[in-house]
């Protein structure tokens, strides 16, 4: 993605004022709302004292540049500092102790307010000791609004994205046709490492178990779900679920620990990698039907004609020949949930990046 006119050797202007003109709390709340600096909900006003308290939670300097972000490819990149991230973290209601996680998300340079007409959302998975240190939820209700850290870290990610990329205004810098309510907190949760039978996500991505990390996925438009794995047709049921994942995405399995164990009991998948291979092998579709999907025509077919594998090989398949439509390397598995039951889901979401939280402490 090299064609953006503002990527590369761009210089950035410090024209954004540091402070907002003093006013009453009510007027400032209104002003932030009218300026489209919020997600439509009330915010915690970022006073100098509150921002200073947030900044005290990292060893990084306030004026250190964290990264550059854009609403989508070919849109201008904007630049931001540690202090700018802190302002948005305060607005989201985050506790200072969450700040290294929020800085790591900002450092990903992946916008959680991406302007996709498909209305994508980010999904955030936190791994390692920081989960316990800041009291994140990986159990009952982890993907819902029941935990302060999960809720405000995810909200901060959204707010910092819209404000640090230069806006997220419908019709101008946001074109998601239907929108996506996941973006209120970007499906932010901790992996349930303690109850998972497998190695955690961040270890799969090359980190040590004792590292604290945050991983960003993107998509979250298609979701299918199921209860457990029945003895007779569980493979077929999984295959049926996979047909619900959009053609330009890949499945990320979000498994309650009960279901994770069932995948071991039913299929013998004693590692995540074995389960991932099974998903890759069973995720098949006749080539003719696959290539006729509009998203595939738009995003996969041009890459195939450009010679990118494995798509170029799929292109040679006969109309009714089954092809494996989800590359093994792109499939992910995360364990989350509190064992209230063996519900599980597949999120159509591409893995983008894992960032060290420790680097931002």
């Amino acid at each position: 993605m090299s064609a953006s006119p503002t990527a590369g050797a761009t210089t950035f202007e410090r024209t954004t004022p540091r402070l907002v003109e003093p006013d009453t709390a009510d007027n400032l709340q209104r002003q932030f709302l009218e300026n489209r600096w919020t997600d439509g909900l009330p915010i915690v006003l970022p006073t100098e004292q509150r921002v200073a308290a947030m900044l005290a939670a990292t060893s990084r300097k306030p004026d250190e540049i964290v990264g550059r972000m854009q609403a989508t490819e070919f849109r201008a990149h904007w630049e931001y500092t540690v202090e700018k991230v802190a302002v948005n973290a305060v607005m989201a209601g985050a506790n200072p102790e969450y700040f290294p996680v929020i800085l790591a998300l900002a450092a990903s340079e992946i916008s959680a307010r991406g302007s996709t007409s498909s209305s994508s959302s980010a999904m955030v998975v936190v791994n390692g000791p920081v989960r316990k240190e800041i009291g994140m939820n990986s159990g009952i209700g982890a993907m819902g609004p029941y935990n302060h850290a999960n809720a405000t870290i995810g909200r901060a990610y959204g707010l910092l994205s819209q404000n640090l990329q230069g806006g997220s205004e419908p019709g101008v810098t946001f074109m998601g046709s239907q929108g996506n309510s996941y973006t209120y907190n970007n499906v932010t949760f901790a992996e349930n490492e303690e109850r998972s039978p497998w190695e955690p996500l961040h270890v799969q991505k090359g980190f040590k178990p004792t590292d604290s990390t945050v991983s960003v996925f993107y998509g979250c438009r298609s979701t299918t779900f199921c209860l457990g794995l029945r003895e007779k047709y569980w493979r077929e049921h999984v295959r049926d679920m996979l047909t619900g994942i959009d053609g330009n995405s890949v499945p990320c399995l979000l498994l309650d620990p009960i279901t994770a164990q069932q995948f071991i009991d039913r299929g013998g998948f004693d590692t995540k990698q074995k389960l991932i291979r099974f998903i890759h092998e069973i995720g098949e579709m006749p080539a003719g039907r696959y290539w006729d999907l509009q998203l595939v025509q738009n995003y996969v077919y041009p890459r195939a004609t450009f010679g990118e594998e494995p798509m170029a090989t799929w292109l040679k398949a006969k109309e009714d020949e089954l092809i494996r439509i989800f590359p093994e390397k792109d499939i992910n598995v995360v364990v989350v949930g509190g064992e209230a039951n063996g519900y599980w889901r597949m999120m159509g979401a591409k893995y983008r990046k894992t960032i060290s939280v420790d680097a931002w402490r």
């Binding site: 993605m1 090299s2 064609a3 503002t6 761009t10 202007e13 410090r14 024209t15 954004t16 004022p17 402070l19 907002v20 003093p22 006013d23 009453t24 709390a25 009510d26 400032l28 932030f32 600096w37 006003l45 970022p46 006073t47 100098e48 004292q49 200073a52 308290a53 989508t72 490819e73 070919f74 849109r75 201008a76 904007w78 630049e79 931001y80 500092t81 202090e83 700018k84 302002v87 948005n88 305060v90 506790n95 102790e97 302007s115 996709t116 498909s118 800041i134 009291g135 850290a149 707010l159 910092l160 404000n163 230069g166 019709g171 101008v172 810098t173 074109m175 998601g176 509009q294 738009n298």
Partner: protein, 205 residues
């Protein structure tokens, strides 16, 4: 359960009449570098215009109607349909070099999604300013303000463009012909008149 940390100044900030100072949450914008348009030919007669399909949805189907219009109304103009080498998400120097070597002007389309409209606008500006090829971009009207924002930040705010109605995807040949032979829903001017003017008239001309 998390311990909710009381935010400093929480009480004083709640006092209705107190004026308080807060920090601005917005990031820092890029410096805009103004760009110059390519020189325009006085006439398109005998010239070769590349029609560049961005490969999103049914862009090529709309461009076929643009090609038909030239055949019907300006037969002295040669047109060549070409598709980007890859998705619109990639710069395509090989294609731009071919157009520069063998063409006199280009029409890029269609910008009709959140990223392909910025992509089409950017590719058109690349052809115009990096390769010296007079270029018009075609978008759908839904992306008018998106395109304005992109061309402004790219340093060529008035980059030539024409709009057709949204959607293009799934429309019949007759419907797409009506788009191309009809008026730009943003400006009210005939679409093809805008395209011809965009290829032959300098912005300050």
């Amino acid at each position: 359960m998390n311990k909710i940390v009381p935010t400093p100044q929480a009480q004083s900030a709640l006092a209705a009449d107190n004026k308080i100072t807060v920090l601005n949450p917005v990031g820092y914008p890029p410096k805009i570098n103004k760009k110059a348009q390519a020189p325009r030919p006085e006439s398109l007669d005998g010239k070769t215009i590349y029609l560049v399909d961005c490969r999103f949805d049914d862009s090529v189907e709309l461009l076929k109607q643009v090609q038909s219009w030239f055949g019907e109304h300006m037969p002295a103009v040669k047109t060549k349909m070409i598709s980007l080498s890859n998705t619109y998400q990639h710069d395509d120097p090989k294609t731009w070099e071919e157009i520069k070597a063998n063409g006199d002007a280009a029409i890029v389309g269609v910008g009709h999604c959140s990223t392909c409209a910025p992509g089409v606008a950017t590719h058109a500006i690349s052809l115009e300013t990096r390769y010296g090829v007079p270029t018009v971009a075609i978008h759908t009207d839904k992306f008018d303000r998106v395109v304005q924002s992109v061309t402004k930040m790219a340093g060529l705010p008035d980059a030539p463009r024409a709009f057709v109605p949204q959607p293009v995807m799934g429309k019949s040949a007759a419907e797409l012909k009506a788009y191309v032979y009809g008026k730009d829903p943003i400006t009210g001017a005939p679409v093809m008149q805008e395209i011809i003017a965009g290829l032959t008239t300098a912005l300050n001309g």
